[in-house]
């Protein structure tokens, strides 16, 4: 069963998030999804480990809450349950997913169409599913376009390169000014 991203987004637009889910409820919703697929969900200790791995400025709980919302408000849960394979490890899958979505805040996922799509596609990728009407290569290319984590690194690199260039030009101007002063020599 393929994930219909367009339809999921439409369902989500019809069911906006009114108030945040409590964390325990969000965890229960995600665990239930694994149970639906006859998979053992992460244990309480596994969830503690997942939380400890969070390096995204305390965004992990927001991401858990948004995943729970998407699973309950749309067909994502049913499609996920149908896609998960019996030999999958829920904890490893979640670890991979939360690493991939690390810089995404709940606000971004809620209000920004690109970050919502990225969040959904990364979930599809984590559960090794397919996007409806897309070849795997197309899905991979789209995921690459959307990847906010890589984009942040790219923006940071561009910013540093620009600062270095500004510094280099400033240095060159100073050196040129110094050379001009020395060439003039000392005059009263």
């Amino acid at each position: 069963m393929d994930f219909d991203i367009k339809h999921i987004r439409k369902q989500l637009a019809d069911t906006p998030l009114v108030s945040p889910y409590p964390h325990d409820l969000s965890v229960a919703i995600i665990c239930d999804t694994f149970r639906l697929a006859n998979l053992r969900p992460p244990s309480r200790q596994d969830w503690t480990v997942l939380e400890q791995r969070d390096r995204g400025a305390g965004l992990w709980k927001e991401q858990v809450m948004m995943l729970a919302h998407l699973l309950t408000a749309t067909e994502l849960r049913a499609t996920t349950a149908a896609t998960l394979r019996p030999n999958m490890d829920a904890t490893t899958l979640l670890q991979r997913f939360f690493t991939e979505v690390e810089p995404l805040t709940a606000e971004m996922i809620r209000s920004n169409v690109f970050r919502l799509e990225e969040f959904l596609r990364k979930w599809v990728h984590a559960v090794e599913g397919r996007v409806k009407d897309e070849a795997p290569q197309q899905s991979a290319a789209r995921l690459k376009q959307l990847d906010y984590r890589t984009a942040l690194q790219e923006m940071q690199r561009a910013d540093e390169a620009r600062k270095q260039e500004v510094e280099r030009r400033k240095q060159e101007l100073q050196e040129a000014a110094l050379r001009a002063t020395e060439a003039r020599g000392w005059r009263e």
């Binding site: 690109f114 376009q145 990847d147 942040l152 620009r162 500004v166 030009r169």
Partner: protein, 434 residues
């Protein structure tokens, strides 16, 4: 004439540096022609989408956009098609005025960039970074317009910038970018303007409604091939008068200092401004102009709002143009001041006098033919402004200095809506804001 009212002008005379850009100018004109002949919208959009690759790179090179996009969880790679634009933040004039140095990318060292200041005639003055191609873009677009008007350029064509501004600035420079031609700025305020025009015999004349009104009153002037007017209010009466005395196409165009030329009014259908895609994209179905620059430049403009009203729609025009057309364009609030002799002059010809004042910080009202009131938010030391304004009015037709009352007011009292209306008249006349 009082030339003291003219601002200091820096005339760029390194015209030889235009020559390497001739192939680029030809490609710009060819690109405009090509897109204006694409009948299918999806095909045209695909051509425009292909230009977003440059924009993505330019956004990444702009410190302002990198910061702004990060604030809202976006990145340049999200912009894959024109459809995606609506999810991106807009840039207001005030934002550009505030962050002008950061919006532009770091210019390459041999680019020869300049910083120009908008006249402030549609809001607060904005400083704009321009690279060499930005400075030459109008000449590239002129090639396209000449083709649309079916005007063939002679070798070494002469172009005249006919100026009715109160400063009376004049100069002549070579114009290698346009078939080794020459550009002459001629002021209608100078006594020898007619003589110079006869001597120059221009193929192309750039002016504004005030300059064209002057032209229409003269006898024995040479007939150019094409006349262009910047999209200030060009009244029906003036159009008819020009049609009688100047049997050549008059092209009314819409441009801003920040964006360059954006659209041109159809020769056949008044009020329909054809968008200059693929150089710019004006978002359809909005109530105001929202511009994204698709032509490589040191200054990327993403969803820039120049604060002009208008709605863009896809159009297959009777003139043969296929593309997007701006309708209901409402740039500046038209206002004509009446001289003591009863002649009407465009009040916006005074806009540059207030270059250092935000439009919402002043209002000039004509109360009687020789009586004006200037309301200023910051009225401290208005002496130099008063002198400059009186000189400008003298050049426009008030040979005896009119009475000018300067009044200090609060900023709120001048706000009349979203669009600033800094010029008003109490003398009733068609098309005026009173």
């Amino acid at each position: 004439m009082d030339a003291r009212v003219a601002p200091r002008a820096n005339i760029r005379r390194d015209t030889a540096s235009q020559r390497p850009h001739v192939p680029w100018a030809e490609s710009i004109a060819a690109g405009l022609s090509r897109l204006a002949a694409v009948p299918r919208e999806d095909e045209a959009r695909a051509l425009l989408d292909a230009r977003l690759e440059w924009l993505r790179g330019a956004l990444l090179a702009s410190p302002y956009y990198v910061r702004r996009l990060q604030q809202v969880g976006l990145h340049p790679g999200d912009l894959q098609s024109l459809q995606d634009l609506r999810h991106f933040p807009t840039l207001e004039r005030t934002g550009l005025a505030l962050h002008w140095g950061e919006v532009s990318a770091l210019p390459s060292e041999d680019e020869g960039c300049v910083v120009v200041r908008s006249s402030g005639s549609t809001g607060e003055p904005v400083r704009v970074v321009r690279d060499r191609r930005d400075c030459l873009h109008m000449w590239a677009v002129l090639r396209f317009w000449l083709e649309r008007a079916e005007v063939a350029l002679p070798p070494r064509p002469r172009v005249v910038l006919l100026d009715a501004l109160p400063g009376g600035l004049e100069y002549s420079v070579r114009l290698p970018i346009l078939q080794d031609g020459a550009l002459h700025r001629v002021s209608v305020l100078r006594g020898d303007a007619r003589e110079r025009l006869r001597r120059v015999s221009p193929t192309v004349v750039f002016s504004d409604p005030e300059g064209l009104r002057w032209w229409a009153e003269q006898d024995g002037l040479p007939v150019p091939g094409l006349v262009l007017s910047s999209a200030q209010h060009l009244s029906e009466a003036l159009r008819e008068r020009l049609a009688r005395v100047l049997p050549v196409p008059v092209l009314n165009y819409y441009a801003t200092t920040e964006t360059g030329p954006l659209a041109w009014e159809c020769f056949r259908s008044t009020g329909h401004f054809h968008v200059l895609a693929p150089d710019v994209w004006l978002e359809p179905d909005q109530d105001e102009v929202v511009v994204t620059r698709l032509r490589p430049s040191v200054l990327p403009l993403l969803r820039y709002r120049p604060a002009d009203a208008g709605t863009v729609r896809r159009d297959a025009c009777a003139c043969g143009f296929q593309g997007w057309t701006l309708e209901g364009f409402g740039g500046r609030g038209a206002c004509g001041f009446t001289t003591p002799t009863g002649r009407s002059v465009d009040a916006w010809a005074l806009a540059w006098v207030f270059k250092h004042h935000a439009l919402r910080a002043f209002r000039l009202t004509q109360l009687a033919p020789t009586h004006f009131e200037l309301e200023l938010v910051d009225a401290t030391e208005p002496g130099p402004l008063r002198e400059r304004l009186t000189g400008a009015l003298r050049n426009l037709g008030w040979s005896d200095a009119p009475r000018l009352d300067v009044r200090a007011v609060s900023g709120d009292s001048l706000v009349t809506g979203t669009k600033p209306l800094p010029f008003r008249t109490r003398i009733p006349r068609e098309g005026n804001h009173t």
